[in-house]
Amino acid sequence: METKRFNRALAVIIATGMLVACSSGETPEETPTELTLITHGSFSLADDTFDKFTADTGITVKFHELGSAGEIVNAMNLTKNNPVGDVVWGIDNVFAAQAIESGIVSEYASPLLTAHEAPFLLKGYETWMTPVTSGDICLNYDDSWFAASDSDYGPPTSLADLKNPYYGPLIAIPAASTSSVGVGFMLATIAEFGEGGYEDFWKQLVANGATITSGWSEAYYGEFTAGGDGDKPIVVSYGSSPAYAPTTRAVASTCFSQVEYAGLVTGTKYPTAAKQLIDYLLSDNVQLQIPDEMYVFPVTDVALPADWEENALKPGSALNIDAALISQKRSEWLQAWTEIVFG
């Protein structure tokens, strides 16, 4: 009986779904009652964050999580004809050019952006997406470990230092094949050593016995001396990580800039309302929460929490690669990286 009722419900679901899908022809734009924000897995904001937006516009905000930045872009590409949301949050500079070139986001940079946010705009595509968070992927080390060590070597001060066999057994790195932090670090080595030199760097690192983990959590909480039970005093993490682990430092010269963008989803039925939502993402209601909720920096000039002011490495003069070049070469670089590291 239960199953019968269930199947009837199922039939209704499918039928309604088809009706919804078929009836969505071209009609003049109306104000929607709700908008869907596509997000990544680390997206987190207080429950009442969008209350003011709802009060101002009458629109409720719903969320649809699609995994990491890379997963978002691939999943959105797949659902291009029937997008599952109106605005996307969290495509970073590694994937932004690909998202633009494949047409899954439409051109819109919020008019609320000021000179302060200018450094975060996507080079070559400045008018296409709106920066919402900023941060760096950097080498972190445990200062107390090196202070207690009787070795001649201190903590590394550059990426080139890591070629020294001494550091090999001391470092944990998230893999570029499965981790967005890992991709950022691979790009840092390409920015530093060039396309001709980064392969040798990685061969050396692997030969020296560096630990490569599948994700950031395994590296930081599993392997890092200051993160959990680990025995590696060097780890690839965020520039903001020292805000939470005062005995650690981030090495400024090793940082790769990671900016996350909000984009207008191509094919949304409500572009006007979606643009309003993108503008709202730059408001203090959202930006003030970013450090404590998502552990990256805001893009606007809102005040930072005290421990961030004190210990976190502010994003700025980090290593960078042109977004269009990343989009063009990323897969090729990763292929080479995979062959070196996986053997």
């Binding site: 239960e2 599952v84 599948s214 897969s331």
Partner: protein
């Protein structure tokens, strides 16, 4: 009216809803995504596959899965005996406890195994860090419960008389087990071992975390092709390869005739000194389950260098209880989908009127969802749901979870339903009982313990689910596994401890839900019997 129902068509009537369900939620989305993949296939896409890495990944997939399956059977069988073939106080809690590994998020289990085997870890002296052995042990940890519970529930229903007769004729306990018990359990063991193999063959996160990032399998190669290289075509080829391996396995282990001399109402004997050797034999399995769990519990109580409830307090502040509620709600909704469907499927497949070939293919078709790449299936469900404009609907996630649980629940129920002696049904028929009334009066009541076991599997699958539905909208709230993933991915101070505390809460919650349902259903069943 029901009694006049044509006996020959009952298998069809019960089978059709199930077929519609798997067609709509598995085969159609799968065909959709594979079709998209193959149509985007380019020469370079194929070339990028033809590496020695792929061959190694295929070999590794088969090796890991086979080893873990054999080990799960070896470790799980003594536990099956202890938990179901004898009686002792506290047994029901232990039965629920063995299911815990099955629903723990892989990231937590992965971290626990890494921490144990790392050179400075508690088991570092074994030298198993990032080894194939470590992966096989971790996969076994996940799957012992499957063997223990589903073989156990069949074992509980075996008639003691055959074994007693053999023993009285002078057979040693081992001879009795080997030549009487084992043949009777063969089908149940094969059925659950196939499931273990399927789970292992599509395991993704655990392999990478425990085996190291170089330990690639077909499933990890699929992920790499889709998300790192944006090569959906190559992923479609790999996913097809995976399905072929799975189909070959299912064909090899497919069942022949099945006829146990079983009487449903066997009462299970008490644990005695004679069972001590089995208690010892079950130790390796118990140790493998308890050590990582013990580590998790221990770590969850260490907070800022001392022992206490700090992690739990912080987890409460971050909304772990809301997540717990969301998890339970969704788990119940998805079980309400998978249990009736599995029961329908089991009824259909156990009718003697079902043509042999149809039954064989139908059964395989219902198992296949477990052997499909969860990355590919997840994308397929997303693609299909977005085409239908229903991607954000609440019911989608319970439906997808129900799909994942269906094969598991079905394979637990089916052997029991098939093993009801035909003479009982014939006797009922000769007394004028129609197929429907003997189904409700004889068959279903006699498999009640097995249904309880299946409800456990259905709930545990849903409570721990994180894979195939990861691209579908999560309804309203964050479930516990999602909460754990978010906490563990966050650099916030203490968030690692919060994740461990949430994992322990998930464990306690699961055991509670399982004990309550098992106990509750048993009571309902008893009072219903009294009513007759």
């Amino acid at each position: 009216m029901v009694a006049s129902l044509d006996r020959n068509r009952l298998w069809l009537i019960t089978g059709i809803p199930v077929a519609v369900f798997v067609l709509a939620f598995f085969y159609y989305p799968l065909a959709n995504i594979l079709g998209t993949g193959f149509s985007s296939l380019s020469d370079t896409g194929v070339e990028s596959l033809l590496t020695s890495r792929l061959l190694a990944a295929t070999a590794r997939t088969i090796f890991y899965s086979l080893s873990a399956t054999v080990l799960s059977v070896l470790f799980g069988m003594p536990l099956a005996f202890l938990l179901y073939r004898v009686r002792f106080p506290g047994q029901r809690i232990l039965r629920s406890l063995v299911l815990v590994p099955f629903m723990l998020p892989t990231i937590v289990v992965g971290l626990a195994f890494r921490a144990l085997f790392r050179s400075n870890g508690a088991l570092g002296f074994l030298g198993l860090h990032e080894s194939a052995t470590a992966v096989v042990l971790a996969l076994t940890f996940f799957n012992i419960a499957l063997i223990a519970r589903s073989v156990g529930s069949s074992w509980a229903r075996l008639d003691y008389r055959q074994e007693d007769a053999a023993a009285s004729l002078g057979a040693t306990p081992f001879q009795v087990f080997w030549s009487v018990t084992l043949p009777n359990l063969r089908k149940a063991i094969l059925a659950s071992a196939s499931l273990v193999f399927l789970f292992c063959a599509t395991s993704f996160g655990l392999v990478l975390m425990v085996g190291g990032v170089r330990a690639s399998t077909i499933e990890t190669e699929i992920y790499l092709q889709v998300f790192s290289f944006g090569n959906l075509g190559a992923a479609a080829i790999l996913a097809t390869l995976q399905l072929v391996i799975v189909l070959v396995l299912l064909w090899v282990t497919r069942g022949s005739g099945y006829n146990l001399g079983v009487d449903a109402a066997t009462s299970v004997r008490k644990f005695t000194v004679r069972n001590l050797p089995i208690l010892f034999a079950s130790l390796p399995g118990a140790v493998l389950i308890l050590v990582p769990l013990g580590y998790l519990v221990f770590r969850s109580f260490s907070y800022e260098g001392s022992f206490g409830f700090g992690n739990f307090v912080q987890a409460s502040a971050e909304g772990v209880w809301d997540s717990a509620l969301a998890s339970v709600t969704i788990a119940i909704a998805s079980s309400a989908i998978s249990i009736p469907l599995a029961l329908f499927a089991a009824i259909s497949l156990s009718r003697r009127q079902i043509p042999g070939a149809v039954g064989g293919w139908f059964n395989t078709a219902l198992l296949l969802p477990l052997g499909a790449s969860s990355v590919v299936l997840g994308l397929g469900l997303l693609l299909t749901a977005s085409n239908l404009g229903i991607a954000g609907w609440w019911i989608i996630v319970p439906l997808a979870q129900g799909l994942v649980a269906l094969p598991l629940v079905l394979q637990t129920m089916l052997p029991a339903l098939k093993s009801i002696p035909s003479r009982r049904l014939e006797a009922a028929a000769s007394l004028g009982s129609g197929p429907v009334s003997s189904l409700f009066r004889i068959e279903l009541p006699s498999i009640r313990p097995v249904v309880l076991v299946s409800i456990g599997f259905a709930l545990a699958t849903a409570l721990g689910e994180f894979g195939a539905t990861s691209f579908l909208a999560r309804p309203g709230q964050i479930t516990l596994p999602v909460f754990i993933y978010q906490a563990i991915s966050s650099p916030k101070p203490g968030s690692f401890g919060v994740a461990l505390a949430a994992a322990v809460i998930l464990t306690v919650l699961t055991v509670t839900v399982l004990v309550v349902t098992e106990y509750g259903f048993r009571k309902v069943g008893k009072s219903a019997n009294v009513g007759k």
